[in-house]
């Protein structure tokens, strides 16, 4: 089987982002999606610190300390961009104006719950940022993560064991092994990597999967 690497997962997500969409990309792997958006599609990136129309990172020497992205990295603004304060920014998120957000996760449940902000360990210092707002507010929530933990357990689970970020909000899961839709009647496999059978994917996954009629 050919597992997807981080960039390949990001490229697979980018394929599903339609022309004209407004998208918020989380920190880490989701940020890579921006590098793979097809040139013939106009996609508006929202950065929750206060930009619509986020551009690529600036050339060396052209950084401006007043212009950063949600990861606090130097950023640029495209023609057509706008700046706004935090309450407006989260009104865009919570008010359902963001078409798609892409988040990383520790676990996703069969009903679309997501856990991505806290390991739950007693001495861990928690930090949540905008993850709960994005999970609750974006029209579609895409999750990118590895299919399995380092010790081989499925990150797609019946019930999340980590503290939840949001309930029943994930719409699609992109892993290094498969693309899976979360629907009211269960998890539907949309894509499987080359060389992996549906049966083998099912064996590796912690919850029952359905074959999507159109899946390859």
């Amino acid at each position: 089987m050919k597992k997807l690497d981080r960039n390949q997962i990001a490229a697979r997500v980018a394929r599903d982002i339609p022309d004209g969409a407004t998208v918020n990309l989380g920190i880490g792997l989701p940020t890579l999606v921006a590098n793979h958006l097809p040139k013939d599609r106009e996609v508006v990136l929202h950065s929750e610190n206060g930009i619509l129309g986020l551009g690529p990172k600036p050339a060396a020497g052209a950084e401006d300390e007043d212009l950063i992205d949600a990861g606090k990295n130097p950023a640029t603004a495209l023609a057509g961009a706008s700046y706004f304060h935090h309450a407006d920014s989260f009104a865009m998120i919570r008010g359902g104006h963001i078409d798609i957000c892409v988040l990383g996760a520790f676990q996703v449940s069969a009903t679309g719950d997501i856990a991505n902000w806290h390991t739950g360990e007693p001495d861990a210092i928690p930090a949540v940022g905008g993850a709960m707002d994005l999970a609750a507010g974006a029209k579609q929530v895409f999750v990118t993560m590895e299919h399995l933990t380092k010790d081989g357990r499925s990150k797609i689970v019946e019930r999340c064991s980590y503290p939840l970020t949001g309930v029943r909000c994930v719409t699609r899961i992109y892993t290094d092994l498969a693309v899976i839709d979360v629907r009211p009647d269960g998890l539907h496999v949309v894509d499987i990597v080359e060389g992996l059978s549906f049966e083998e994917l099912q064996r590796l996954s912690g919850v029952p999967l359905k074959r999507l009629a159109t899946a390859a």
């Binding site: 950065s47 929750e48 610190n49 206060g50 930009i51 401006d64 300390e65 007043d66 212009l67 950063i68 606090k72 950023a75 603004a77 700046y83 706004f84 304060h85 935090h86 309450a87 920014s89 989260f90 998120i93 919570r94 719950d113 806290h118 001495d123 210092i125 928690p126 930090a127 949540v128 940022g129 905008g130 993850a131 709960m132 707002d133 609750a136 507010g137 503290p163 939840l164 970020t165 949001g166 309930v167």
Partner: protein, 226 residues
């Protein structure tokens, strides 16, 4: 005559009492009122409750305020970062109380305070640990969590330009929490790069009207080493 210009950061913060709730603007270094925070450290007020998105980075600004032991409680969304060692140390030692709030809920609670809202229902955090013990309500097809406003005694914010009425214009993503914190505090102190004559700010570009600002201090930007 209305003149909100103050000569120094020290003079602008001279009356911050012990136990005050202080909002501090900024997201990362963008919009962080570094010189006002330095003046607050020098001023010496203790037992502060601080409202900020983060809990300080590295050794300057809010991190230094925490490092100096002046902060008793912090309300923020994202304290843990690779360089939040002053927060981490104080928190683990039990010297600093943390109220963790989702970022959008933090922004809306601040906005609500400035707008005179008594409380509001938000879908954010429903069903999570951060909603435990809070009142919830189903409205239509969704579940919501009741959240209350965050008021402050002082707000320290950074803007780009101001006139003597306290009208403020910002620069790019440095705007972040400035406008909502300005409205939520009893006494808002803005540090600005440039002060301009009344009338020099086009009313169309004023983002924070002067009604929300009590004091303005001009802080010339540091000249960067070449």
């Amino acid at each position: 005559m209305i003149d909100k210009f103050i000569d120094s950061a020290a003079a602008a913060l001279a009356d911050v009492p012990d136990g005050a709730t202080v909002m501090i603007g900024g997201f990362g270094n963008a919009g962080m009122p570094a010189e006002l925070i330095d003046a607050l450290i020098a001023q010496g007020a203790r037992d502060l409750t601080v409202v900020n998105n983060n809990a300080g980075n590295a050794d300057a600004g809010l991190a230094a305020l925490i490092g100096a032991g002046r902060v008793r409680r912090i309300i923020c969304s994202f304290p843990r970062q690779t360089d939040s060692w002053h927060f981490d140390k104080a928190y683990r030692a039990g010297k600093l109380e943390l109220e963790l709030v989702p970022q959008g809920t933090l922004a809306e609670r601040i906005r609500a305070a400035g707008a005179g809202i008594g409380a509001f229902y938000t879908p954010t955090a429903f069903g999570t640990r951060l909603a435990e013990g809070k009142e919830t309500r189903r409205i239509g097809e969704r579940d919501y969590v009741l959240e209350f406003p965050i008021h402050a005694d002082f707000a320290l914010i950074k803007a780009d330009r101001a006139d003597r009425w306290g009208n403020l214009a910002y620069r790019m993503t440095a705007r972040n929490f400035g406008p909502i914190m300005a409205a939520a505090a009893t006494c808002t102190v803005a540090q600005v790069r440039e002060t301009v004559a009344l009338g020099a700010l086009d009313p169309e570009v004023v983002v924070t009207p002067g009604i929300f600002v009590r004091r303005v201090v001009r802080i010339a930007p540091l000249r960067r080493a070449a």
